[in-house]
């Protein structure tokens, strides 16, 4: 059987991207399943204690982190290492702020609608699942800040940064659907 070897740099990159998008697609099915569970379990009912202003605030923080991640990726592609580093550090800060916001929301939610209630079940599952993705995204962003990255970017290899930043954007896209589903639908 003849072995297929991908030699061209562009072909390898295209394959990497396809693989990443398939991973993102599989992840989106998980989020879609949880989002539909909310409507299956609770319909459009929502407890009035849900902190909507906090939900908006953390949404805006996450959207802002997508901008800094995008700027970091562009800087990496264009070989501006200092700007890349600064923007990824901003993204790390904003992502951490988002997690703090979710933690604060959880402390309120435990009192108002604990996980034993119908809405609490889906609220904690969905926000917890998403927060776990944010946490893994933060860890991946830390990895691209490791010292060896500068040499890779200088040699024109920014795939690692692109992959991590795409994953970060996906986490943002997921939240764009989670925010109205949990905080606004009623």
């Amino acid at each position: 059987m003849a072995a297929v070897t991908v030699t061209h740099k562009e072909d390898r990159l295209a394959l990497h991207r396809l693989g990443l998008w398939l991973f993102i697609l599989s992840e989106s099915f998980l989020f879609a399943a949880l989002l539909t569970t909310r409507f299956y379990l609770q319909g459009v009912q929502r407890p009035p204690e849900v902190n909507q202003p906090l939900g908006l605030a953390i949404s805006l923080i996450l959207v802002l982190s997508s901008l800094t991640a995008y700027r970091g990726e562009m800087a990496a592609i264009y070989g501006d290492y200092r700007r890349f580093r600064r923007n990824i550090l901003f993204t790390l800060g904003l992502g951490s702020l988002f997690l703090i916001g979710v933690g604060f929301e959880w402390s309120e939610a435990f009192r108002s609608f604990p996980p034993s209630t119908g809405f609490g079940t889906i609220f904690f599952t969905l926000t917890g699942f998403h927060a776990f993705h944010v946490l893994t995204g933060l860890l991946a962003l830390l990895v691209v800040l490791l010292p060896g990255q500068k040499g890779r970017l200088a040699s024109g290899n920014s795939w690692g940064v692109e992959a991590v930043v795409k994953y970060w954007h996906f986490v943002d896209v997921a939240w764009v659907f989670i925010f109205p589903t949990l905080y606004l639908v009623s």
């Binding site: 998008w21 959207v63 997508s66 562009m74 996906f170 925010f179 109205p180």
Partner: protein
């Protein structure tokens, strides 16, 4: 290593996308908090409108079928 030209324009464009996303998020919030009952179709549409710029301009989903040179 000196940055290649064209970076500044791409960075500025990011702010345009951010502006759109922020407007969509705030509109979602206003729709969700002011319309009592029956807001979910509007929220669903706004969520799709909010996701699209991220997929298109930040994630470059079209590079899958139109690889950039």
């Amino acid at each position: 290593m000196m940055p290649r030209p064209g970076l500044e324009g791409k960075l500025r464009f990011g702010f345009v996308v951010l502006g759109v996303l922020m407007v969509v998020e705030v509109t979602e919030y206003l729709v969700g908090t002011t319309i009592k009952g029956g807001a979910w179709p509007y929220l669903a549409i706004l969520a799709v409108i909010g996701a699209w710029p991220i997929l298109q301009y930040f994630m470059h989903i079209t590079h899958l079928w139109h690889p950039e040179k």
